[in-house]
């Protein structure tokens, strides 16, 4: 649609046309829709809220036809753990690099910025709140990754060099944390860990894994002096630097809320008991 409206495909030409479009306030539905569709496409791939695919509704949901379900937690839960790890890391890095390149060499104007600001805030809020209600191990990790995408989008939304720097730092640290978390979940597959309650005796059976998992989840929660705190620090300061005074406090509040969800896994693994053994009925 952008090509249809502008006739240009080269980034340099698009930069001049789109910057002029933003500055002069010209109205072009083709350009606006094109920018919107590009943003939606990027945000869908990185599992940002609210761009999620509809799936077959669950029988218990009476208004299922009106509710959009998230593809990320369902796909993360249903896929083999190495595939889940790959899906939660690689698309985020590649799409972030892609859109950073498009925006740096092309144009990044108010239209795109408003969309990304909204999606950052929505992702942060949903990632923190939805993770609280989960009972399986992979789903809170999926929701944490949705929340982290919101934090990382904050850095990009700013449109400043500090924002891009914070984005790169955030991506690197997020990749390391996610590799760590899914490596431990993958190592526990022999003990058939599916629910959070199954982690109950991890501190007794494998204390090193339990400590590593705890440190990783604390990093996800953004507790200093771990790396997750440093990435959020840079991201929120970049947001404040560009004048996004609402976005930074929302990020801080959702981090605090997410501490409960992210802290649930180490709490259960360190202090929980072994899972109950099912007894055969008395004959």
């Amino acid at each position: 649609m952008i090509y249809g409206s502008t006739g240009a495909t080269h980034f340099d030409q698009l930069a001049k046309i789109l910057t002029g479009y933003e500055i002069t306030g010209a109205r072009s539905s083709g350009i606006f829709m094109g920018i919107l569709f590009i943003a939606v496409g990027f945000l869908f791939k990185i599992t940002a809220v609210p761009f999620r695919a509809a799936k077959t509704p669950s029988p218990s949901d009476s208004i299922s036809l009106l509710t959009l379900y998230m593809w990320a937690p369902d796909i993360y839960e249903g896929s083999p753990t190495p595939v889940t790890a790959f899906l939660s890391i690689a698309p985020k890095i590649s799409i972030s690099a892609n859109i950073s390149r498009v925006s740096i060499y092309g144009s990044y104007g108010a239209t795109l910025q408003q969309i990304f600001f909204f999606c950052s805030i929505a992702s942060m809020i949903l990632g923190a709140l939805a993770a609280m209600a989960q009972t399986k191990v992979k789903r809170p990790l999926a929701h944490s990754s949705i929340g982290h995408v919101g934090y990382i989008r904050t850095g990009f939304s700013c449109g400043t060099i500090e924002g891009i720097q914070a984005l790169l730092i955030g991506l690197f640290i997020y990749a390391l944390m996610t590799i760590d978390a899914f490596a431990i979940v993958s190592a526990l597959r022999q003990t058939r860990v599916k629910y959070i309650a199954d982690l109950g005796a991890l501190a007794k059976t494998n204390p090193i894994s339990a400590i590593t998992f705890s440190i990783t989840m604390f990093s996800y929660a953004g507790i200093p002096p771990l790396a997750g705190f440093c990435s959020k620090f840079y991201l929120f300061f970049a947001a404040l630097g560009c004048g996004a005074y609402f976005l930074a406090p929302v990020g801080v509040v959702t981090s605090v809320i997410g501490c409960w969800a992210a802290g649930r896994l180490p709490r259960v693994s360190q202090f929980g008991g072994p899972k109950a053994v099912l007894r055969a009925p008395d004959t």
């Binding site: 190592a187 494998n206 090193i208 590593t212």
Partner: protein, 81 residues
């Protein structure tokens, strides 16, 4: 600087290998040659990291100088006209 980087790298490599053994519930010093390999890799990694950081600082200073010169040419020279 080189000695401290070497020591840190060796400790990092040794610690990583011991951690790897602990994670797999093996004795910490099982297969000691792996610890030697880890120490070697750690030394190489940290020394290269220190060199890369120094190079990065130099490159950044050059970029900032170029940008400053370009800005001065663009704005200050116009004021003289």
């Amino acid at each position: 600087m080189v000695w401290s980087a070497t020591m840190v790298g060796a400790l990092l490599g040794l610690g990583t290998q011991m951690y790897s053994n602990a994670l797999r519930k093996l004795p910490y010093m099982r297969h000691p040659w792996e610890h030697a390999v880890g120490m070697g890799l750690g030394v190489v990694f940290v020394n290269q990291l220190v060199k890369w950081d120094a190079q990065l600082q130099e490159d950044l200073d050059k970029m900032l100088e170029k940008a400053k010169a370009a800005n001065e040419r663009r704005y200050f020279d116009q004021d003289d006209e």
